[in-house]
Amino acid sequence: MATGVKPRVKVPKTASAGEAITIKTLISHPMESGQRKDSNGNIIPRSIINRFTCDFNGQNVIDVTLEPAISTNPYFEFEALVPEAGEFKFTWYDDDGSVYEEAKPIAIG
């Protein structure tokens, strides 16, 4: 069970129709790989974010599978086309079953 998990996203407040905007996302997470051992020699169980998705008005923008080699606090930066005003929805899926969500509106202007 990961503690102190906090998602963050940065999306411009406005864009012109058809513009490609840059989106930055970061989630604070230890990303325990499952390969390490504690001081007693026992394997520390894997606990990572295994999937990240971004949707715009119900349409998928990206869908990422994360693997154990990805380091702590995974950061994604990507571009998205904005055809109309709407809302970006971001979802992170944790190994422990938790789902972290964040949403950001964007206006045309």
Binding site: G4, K6, R8, K10, K24, L26, S28, S71, T72, N73
Partner: protein
């Protein structure tokens, strides 16, 4: 003056040897955070410094990529820890049922504090660092356990408080009752330690901007602390960095929070008088 011109010659030679733009890329860049906060990363050295004309933030010595991380708060990994510091700020702890916020409201009430730290504490009769003020609050106002100097909540809280002073010029007092401690710090700065017999000045005054093996030496300024270091992916306290430096001279180090390090912190902070407070900065 003779020393100063010698320094100019050695750095010119070093530049030739390195070739342009290797380790010193982006040296003349301007640090503007979030496109709005302009920072002073180069300025005239304070009057008490005898051998250096211009003081430079550690930021000016770093590569373009590392510099860029500090120019946007979203990209600055140190901000994660500031967020955690804010959670700690509002967390009630101890027998008095108080949090930091109970007395200080928002952290912005402590704007300007970092710029003046460490400073002479009248009541205690000695120079105190921010960590000592925080632990005093915890012990005497909150009735809570002291934090370790280098513990996560301590470093995160100092980062949160430092952020409130970001962009303000460092201005520590070195005269009056603080002078004795300052003199002691200066002596430590110029004393050679360890099997390698290195003083702070040997690297950070005589050889800044040169390479020590693969490391590009800075002036050892502490205006950017606590600093997020890419090498250990966390925030680092000032004393922790001092310890690392002294260890690298193959010496027995002083302890975090020791009288020696408090004196050294005051002296090194005063060498940055005039630079902007950058904490939490990003370094390698």
């Amino acid at each position: 003056m003779e020393l100063k011109s010698l320094k100019a010659v050695t750095s010119a030679v070093a530049l030739l040897a390195l070739g342009a733009g290797l380790a010193s890329a982006g040296e003349d860049d301007q640090l503007i955070i979030n496109g709005e906060t302009e920072m002073v990363t180069r300025t005239e050295a304070p009057a008490h410094m005898e051998y250096i004309d211009e003081i430079r933030s550690g930021w000016t010595f770093r590569s373009d990529e590392t510099q860029a991380l500090q120019m946007d708060d979203f990209d600055n990994p140190g901000m994660i820890f500031v967020d955690q510091g804010l959670d700690t700020w509002n967390e009630v702890d101890g027998s008095e049922g108080k949090s930091c916020a109970s007395c200080h409201d928002g952290p912005e009430s402590l704007a300007g504090l970092r710029a003046a730290m460490p400073k002479y504490n009248e009541a205690a009769g000695e120079v105190w660092t921010m960590e000592m003020y925080i632990n005093d609050c915890r012990e005497n106002r909150m009735g809570a356990e002291k934090w370790g100097w280098n513990s996560n909540p301590m470093v995160n809280t100092t980062a949160l408080i430092s952020l409130q002073s970001r962009g303000m010029p460092v201005d520590v007092k070195i005269d009056g009752p603080a002078q004795e401690t300052w003199e002691k710090g200066k002596e430590i700065y110029y004393t050679r330690y360890g099997q390698l017999e290195l003083s702070c000045a040997n690297c950070h005054e005589d050889n800044y901007d040169n390479l020590i093996r693969a490391d590009h030496l800075s002036q050892g300024q502490i205006n950017g602390f606590p600093a997020y270091r890419l090498k250990n992916a966390k925030l680092n306290s000032i004393h922790n960095r001092f310890k690392g430096c002294i260890r690298d001279t193959r010496a027995e180090t002083f302890k975090e929070g020791s009288a020696e390090f408090i004196a050294l912190e005051l002296y090194v902070a005063s060498r940055g008088n005039g630079l902007s407070v950058e904490g939490p900065s990003v370094r390698n």
